[in-house]
Symmetry: C2
Subunit: 173 residues, 2 copies
């Protein structure tokens, strides 16, 4: 038995998005307990020149969605980047999860050596083979934004632990 491009991507993105959604659910409950509007967290940043929480959630989902689309050589659905509430951000995650469910392993497997060209910054592109793209770009990029979202919630006092990030709803309370 060995791993494949699909088995090394789809389950990781599915798990990561489910765990991210769990962290958002805990943040909503924490805000209710602390009696503040959770939506004030949508705009928080770790530094003035870093992207806010909402963008971290959008990009985490897009990192998964675009990685799979590029590896499969298909177009991914575009979302509007207009979420301003936790409910809308969680709906965005759910839409991404639903789209990922439409992808079959056969759309990815065997494409380890296919060239993938993708935008980097505003006016550059980069080309990597499918396997290298997954390992050295798509996965680290996905976890970067999931972890930054987690860090923003922790920085703002939400009662999360690493087990929430790793285990999601299985982490218990």
């Amino acid at each position: 038995m060995s791993l494949t491009l699909s088995s090394a991507s789809l389950p990781i993105f599915r798990t990561g998005l489910a765990n991210l959604d769990h962290c958002l659910a805990k943040a909503e409950a924490n805000a209710a307990a602390r009696k503040f509007d959770p939506n004030v967290l949508v705009g928080v940043r770790l530094a003035p020149d870093m992207l806010p929480f909402a963008a971290q959630i959008r990009i985490a989902g897009d990192a998964a969605k675009l990685a799979v689309a590029r590896m499969a050589g298909i177009e991914a659905p575009k979302f509007e980047d207009n979420e301003s509430t936790f409910a809308e951000l969680r709906e965005r995650i759910a839409k991404t999860q639903a789209w990922l469910e439409t992808i079959s392993p056969a759309q990815l497997d065997g494409r380890e050596d296919v060239d993938i060209t993708f935008p980097v910054g505003r006016d550059k592109t980069r080309t990597m083979k499918g396997e290298a793209y997954l390992k050295h770009w798509a996965l680290p990029n996905f976890f970067f934004h999931v972890t930054t979202a987690y860090a923003l919630l922790r920085h703002n006092g939400v009662d999360l632990g690493k087990s929430d990030y790793l285990l999601g709803a299985q982490a218990g309370n």
Copy 2:
């Protein structure tokens, strides 16, 4: 061609640690330019009940080291957790990188279905198959600590961008 337990772990950890070390080098240069001692960053935290920067670096390296050791069924070297300077933290990363170089793919491949039991928290363990452990524990855990270290540096004004995290020294300036 398909991925293997070694090809889906060793290069990812090598790249991630090299990029992490690059971020520390940039932080040292940034501290020199801003005329403060970089070692004040060793103790910074994103929340009072989160681990400090030094621990994020130690655990990032240990996440890679222990994941490989557990997947290979061998003992990893123990380090002392006593670093208090950037030089010592970078030496810790280098020691971890050097140990990873001693591991051959044959020590990992074929062990996708071997049970791995590992500590979770203080008094619990968890058991997962090698492949699931890599995908759903070891990789997310590794990137969690690398990204949290990055977030701590950014939060403290170090001039990093995501390309430093993704590309390390290749990111340019």
